[in-house]
């Protein structure tokens, strides 16, 4: 299967500033890709180049085989885009805003209106909510309206820029659930975000950006494996004598660090909780808690940059 989105040596400079440098990216059908990194690391610029809204300085981009710099209309017809903190016409209702989007996409009013109802209902904005002026919408509702606008276009690729920024935890969770649903329907989703821990749960693959370069790319597990070394972290709370010696003796444990009174953190090459519990009990110590920590992208990120700084 060929890549739906593909870039080769994509570079964008604004004067002396390089916003994106030599980006090689491939997105295949049915995956959710996370474009992650701090603000100003080139995520939005990359997206704008993919949509043909800004021209690359050098390199090429292909979206479904089309060059966005040459055929922006064709590309934009096939890609849905939810901009960073999307705005709508506040004095118009949600329904009217979608009707405008539909007309801009060349849909006739007769075809558009059942489609608008359908996407509004799906996003939980149906009936009288859709008739309210968007000015009265909450941030979460605006984001959902933005997603409705993408669904309305019936596209195969959706690009979401900071979709969970400014949402409360529950709304963010809800929104990510909707993204999962889209993926299940076979849509390719590209999410740009600096809230690593929020989006890591929905991404099949992620690319970490720093200063215009994609410095790491792969699955969340793969990245934590390669960056964090022993990918498994186990938190142990145990009372007894020489607990850290006992723990250090467990095979596959690479490192033990004390985290406070009776608390330890293990770095292990595999999930060795069973071995830990057996040994602690056998040595006569009390085992109070034992938890496996999921590797988090935040940690991968900060660890990676610590290393980079060390090397420099």
């Amino acid at each position: 299967m060929s890549a739906l989105i593909e870039t080769t040596d994509l570079t964008k400079r604004y004067g002396a500033v390089t916003a994106v440098q030599d980006l090689d990216l491939q997105l295949k059908a049915g995956e959710v890709f996370g474009l992650l990194g701090p603000n100003g690391s080139g995520k939005t610029t990359t997206i704008l180049m993919l949509l043909g809204l800004t021209e690359p300085t050098s390199g090429t981009a292909r979206v479904m085989g089309l060059d966005p710099a040459r055929k922006p209309l064709e590309v934009k017809r096939r890609v849905g885009y939810l901009p960073d903190s999307v705005g709508f016409y506040d004095e118009l209702s949600g329904r009217e805003n979608l009707a405008y989007v539909a007309r801009l996409n060349g849909l006739r009013a007769r075809e558009a209106s059942p489609a608008i109802e359908q996407v509004l209902n799906r996003m939980g904005l149906g009936n009288d909510v859709g008739d309210r002026a968007v000015g009265a919408y909450s941030r979460g509702m605006r984001q959902r309206l933005g997603l409705a606008a993408i669904l309305l276009k019936q596209v195969q690729i959706a690009i979401l820029d900071e979709p969970t920024l400014g949402l409360d935890p529950e709304a963010a969770h809800e929104f990510l659930e909707m993204i999962r649903d889209l993926r299940a329907e076979g849509m390719v989703v590209m999410i740009s975000s600096h809230l690593l821990h929020q989006v890591q749960a929905v991404c099949d693959r992620v690319g970490l950006f720093l200063k215009g370069k994609m410095v790491l790319e792969g699955t969340v597990e793969g990245l934590s494996e390669s960056v964090l070394g022993g990918a498994f972290r186990i938190h142990v709370e145990s009372r007894g004598q020489n607990v850290d010696a006992i723990l250090r003796d467990v095979p596959s444990v690479a490192k033990v660090s004390a985290m406070g009174l009776n608390k330890y953190r293990l770095e292990a090459r595999e999930d060795c909780r069973a071995a830990v519990s057996k040994r602690v009990i056998a040595a006569g110590a009390e085992l109070l808690s034992l938890t496996l920590e999921r590797p988090s992208l935040d940690e991968v990120y900060s660890r990676y940059f610590q290393e980079v700084r060390h090397d420099a």
Partner: protein, 316 residues
């Protein structure tokens, strides 16, 4: 380089903007103002015209130009209200989209920026055209009612040309307002900038004209040729203002007796029967340079706005 028609989505933009304008409070206020101006001007004009009825073959055109103290004529009212309306419709055309953060939403749909900018311009002109046409019909109807005289075909033709000239004049201010809205980030700044230009031409341009004609060029009072040259300089400078061009168009279209818009020499009047009206087409020819200048200004200003807008980043 790029492929696909720049007009894609133009209709959608025009329809949306037109609907916005026609339902906006901004436009309501201006409509009320224009309506009041029209009613007041026509009423006083008819009072004045009744006294002299039967003396003028173009009594209907007098509706637009007759003034009675303290009210100005309808045409003068329009010269004042049209720039205001056009600026009100255009001053936040581009920066308003940025401020509402709708720019990236709209531009990520399959349209070019061309369609967005042109759509906004056409919708503004359309709004003014609808309002003006309604006023024009109202005025004609009131004229029929008060004067009891039906307009001749030629008068209707001249009144239509007047309508067109007013639209071209509106286009200048609309294009200028859109240009400023693309250049300045704050709508308040762009509105103020457009209003300043309007003030410059409305209030201060006569001073500027005098400065150039009388201050910089000292004409010998005994030399008629030097005086003619001085008058021509003054005319040239004053015609740099769209207000002058519009006023000259009105004179040419609404006063059929006018045979020249500049200084005229006695020798050129040889054989002319003074006070006889010109045919419509001849009046049109007299006004042709002014029409070209106004429409050309609209196009130049729009191109300026287009260039500024094309170079802008989508991100606010």
């Amino acid at each position: 380089m790029r492929e696909g028609s720049p007009w894609t989505g133009l209709g959608a933009v025009v329809l949306k903007e037109l609907a916005d304008h026609l339902t906006s409070v901004r436009m309501r206020i201006l409509e009320i103002l224009m309506l009041l101006a029209a009613l007041g001007a026509v009423y006083t004009a008819t009072q004045e015209i009744r006294k002299t009825i039967g003396e003028d073959p173009f009594v209907f055109l007098k509706l637009f130009t007759t003034a009675q103290e303290p009210l100005p004529a309808f045409a003068a009212f329009l010269g004042f209200l049209i720039p205001l309306t056009a600026i009100a419709l255009g001053f936040d055309a581009v920066n308003g989209e940025y401020n509402r953060r709708t720019m990236s939403l709209v531009l990520s749909q399959p349209i070019y920026r061309d369609a967005l900018l042109l759509g906004k311009f056409l919708a503004g002109i359309g709004t003014i055209a609808i309002t003006l046409t309604a006023l024009w019909v109202l005025l004609t109807g009131l004229g029929l009612w008060f004067l009891g005289v039906a307009p001749s075909t030629e008068e209707v033709g001249r009144a239509l040309l007047f309508l067109f000239a007013t639209l071209a004049y509106a286009g200048v201010w609309l294009a200028l307002a859109i240009l400023f809205s693309a250049h300045f980030r704050q709508p308040a700044t762009s509105a103020l900038a457009a209003l300043s230009v309007w003030l410059l031409f409305t209030v201060f341009w006569t001073i500027v004209t005098d400065l150039f004609a009388k201050g910089l060029y000292r004409a010998d009072p005994n030399n008629p040729l030097a005086q003619l040259a001085q008058a021509r300089i003054g005319l040239f400078v004053s015609r740099l203002s769209p207000n002058t061009l519009y006023a000259e168009l009105l004179v040419a279209f609404l006063n059929p007796q006018v045979r020249s818009l500049g200084p005229i020499l006695v020798t050129q009047l040889e054989g002319a029967v003074m006070g006889t009206p010109l045919p419509l087409f001849q009046s049109f020819l007299i006004a042709w340079p002014q029409i070209v200048a106004l429409v050309g200004t609209v196009i130049a200003l729009f191109i300026g706005a287009y260039v500024i807008f094309q170079r802008q980043e989508v991100r606010a």
